[in-house]
Symmetry: C2
């Protein structure tokens, strides 16, 4: 193919946050771009849908202190934020028994609470040794990467199943996976990259603090709107990427495009489903074979009234016995659509799709009723989003590194392969796993390419 026939300087594969941010930054830097998105929409793992007359985030939803890029971006794009509702007592269900509490510390046996605090301290201390930009360079990286989080915590947690179950909820919610699957190094890197454990679990003061009025998908849409319309191709699922000495040809099943450079901005597991010519280096290929998406289902129920608030409850709940691990008040910002949001995450999410639909709905509402009261059984509307059934995500919220991967192949994560460059929240240098990380990786890859174009 003639090098004069480029469709763009850079083809960006994947119109999620990382991809559209990279495209917008490349465009701003003077490069011509083409965004190729497999779905019929931009946004990737951010996806905003109407329910009962308001817009709800069926994917990534919240931001919080420690994520400066997101706050700046939201402001630049003319979007507004609104804090999540937190007033009221929280619900904790441990081993089938539900109690309520105020503040951040649930009412459990003081000795167990102490254990929990000690474990959290130990995690924080260990995580501070992991360089966020290069966890494979951490002291004892290989050793930390040869254990699962479960292996590490097992002796420490002998003190009780309650502490264990609480941490299970945290791990499942953050990773969509269980402690027995995660590399300890990956876990510690994640904590390090996000400034500690507290941002991961807190609403007020943490990453669940603020929501975007109108939904997070608007961010990708507005970033996309900074490009001319013909620079974004929807329903363009890339199957093959061919590099030669002059450029790159990118092919879907029906079309092909030619660019000087390519950004692959899809989840690592999905990147592995593209065919590469020539074959990727072993290290890169092994990453694609290994990093598996978590399992996350979000369920939504809207109501006439926010009945839980009337009962003095915040709508936040933690459950250890049912399918729903955590729940939040997800009422629309103007208060017009009272809504409860439940997360089915990790192991319970993995068989979710195999349950008959009507049974699933009944079970989820029953679990909400156990947290918040019988009114939960009769919502106005009910909706669910199982990210495991999304062909172009493969799961949610993030791709997780099994043992023996990050320490061995990690330095290939951001390494360009010829004219191919990589983006995505899983390979961010800060706030890995969050929208903030996607933006960071988009900025990084745009800079990387602008210096060589």
């Amino acid at each position: 193919m003639n090098s004069d026939n480029f469709d763009a300087d850079v083809a960006v594969i994947g119109g999620g946050l990382a991809g559209v941010r990279a495209a917008a930054q490349l465009h701003a830097g003077g490069a011509s771009v083409l965004v190729l998105e497999a779905r019929d929409r931009l946004g990737g793992r951010t996806y905003t849908r109407p329910l009962g007359g308001a817009a709800f985030d069926f994917g990534g939803q919240s931001i919080g202190p420690g994520q400066p890029r997101m706050y700046q971006l939201v402001k630049d794009l003319g979007l507004e934020i609104a804090p999540a509702h937190v007033a009221g007592r929280k619900v904790l269900e441990l081993g089938g028994k539900a109690t309520t509490y105020a503040g951040t510390i649930p009412f459990i046996n003081p000795l167990k609470l102490l254990t929990l605090q000690l474990i959290l301290k130990r995690i924080e201390r260990l995580s501070r040794q992991i360089p966020s930009e290069a966890p494979w360079d951490a002291p004892h990286a290989s050793s930390l990467d040869s254990l699962t989080l479960e292996a590490w915590r097992r002796p420490a947690w002998a003190i009780g199943t309650e502490v264990r179950r609480l941490m299970d909820v945290v791990v499942r919610t953050v990773f969509g996976a269980d402690a027995g699957e995660l590399s300890l190094l990956h876990f510690l890197w994640f904590v390090s990259s996000n400034g500690g454990l507290m941002p991961l679990v807190e609403t007020k003061g943490g990453f669940q603090q603020d929501r975007i009025v109108g939904g997070t998908q608007q961010i990708s849409e507005r970033l996309g709107a900074t490009l001319s319309r013909d620079r974004i191709r929807l329903n363009a699922a890339v199957r093959t990427i061919r590099q030669d000495e002059n450029g790159v040809t990118v092919e879907s099943s029906s079309e092909s495009w030619r660019a000087k450079r390519v950004v692959v901005a899809v989840p690592l597991a999905i990147a592995g489903r593209i065919s590469y010519e020539p074959l990727l280096p072993t290290a890169r290929d092994q990453i694609h074979q290994r990093v598996a998406m978590g399992s996350t289902v979000k369920i939504f129920a809207t109501y006439e009234r926010a009945f839980w608030r009337e009962r003095g409850l915040s709508g936040e709940a933690v459950g250890t016995s049912g399918a729903i691990s955590v729940a939040f008040d997800n009422t629309s910002n103007d208060g017009s659509v009272p809504c409860l949001l439940g997360f089915v995450v990790g192991r319970p999410a993995r068989t979710f799709a195999t349950m008959p639909r009507e049974y699933r709905r009944a079970q989820m509402l029953e679990e909400l009723a156990r947290f918040f009261g019988p009114e939960a059984r009769t919502p106005l509307e009910y909706a669910e989003m199982d990210w495991g059934e999304e062909r172009f995500s493969g799961g949610c919220p993030i791709g997780n590194f099994p043992p023996g991967t990050l320490s061995v192949f990690g330095n290939a994560l951001r390494m360009p392969v010829g004219r191919l460059h990589w983006a995505g929240t899983e390979i961010a240098r800060q706030c890995v796993g969050y929208m903030e990380g996607a933006i960071e990786s988009g900025d990084r890859v745009a800079e990387e390419i602008l210096t060589v174009l």
Copy 2:
């Protein structure tokens, strides 16, 4: 598409041992078949090439007692077996110091030897609790699957690095992976499925005992020859599988075929690179995202004379310091082409392809010279086979299950998905990971389909 237009009753994707065996059995059972193979050859991970005038196996090579299907098949196909050369002393290099020994027990400190024996006993005892057909049903399956082999062995192996290094060699050679990557449940299942540890490591009496005269690829070729020639399509890399209520359409980038049923007989990681319509169930998709191929390189050096034999050495060596973990006398069966075979496996194999070719050759020959003497430096011919660079294998010898996979998703491994059926040594009910397992899985899937056609 009209249901009258079937190209075959069954399309078999993958012309490795499992696929061609399934096709041959289906054909024998009265079904029409079509084998779609991505490469320009049958055989998959068995691959026989000429070197110095003799045929050598660049992939799967040996069989041994405990693999009855293979011995029967070899006989049925009119092939001959010849025992591997074992006479002479073996070389053991531990921490840079090479010694030689006779028999199966290397000369190491008796206390360390005792430790080693105790660990092996413990592994054998644990493995006997794992049902070969359904490891996910083992007692404590979930707990065993939440640890790496490394986490389990770490306390037991505190006694010394020598024992540890010896076991590293075994694990790397058998799995192409390190103890820090493997689920303990996967490891124990593998041992159980193959009747203990000894078959895995022994030459005489173990799975390395006998070779096929003329090479193992002949098995696939001769099985393929039981079908008419137009029933095998080479260079047919399947990209998409579409199921509907009447049948299945299978597509490469240029052609498509229609069948009533489909057997997917490619490694799990490679199966994940096919696009499925409708999307596979989450459990199956997660397996494809997770089970990663090991890393194995075979290197061959041929010589004028089998100089090591003249020195009283068998040609078998174990090394813990270099890239080559184990070596064997691989002289052609008629003795005409003296040959040494080295295995670079697990971690050292993962960067093999990044080393400059000439440097690589020099280093490998130098390591053989350290085992067997200076003559090793000047071979007649030198060849290497890095399975990590094989697009349609993704690595060798097998796909390994990371923690949290087998216990959670295992029961989806052989479960048909509509009209799709699964084969391959990784999902065998006996001798998982070996050619014997591939045959077993081919037989099982053929039977499964013949009952529903």
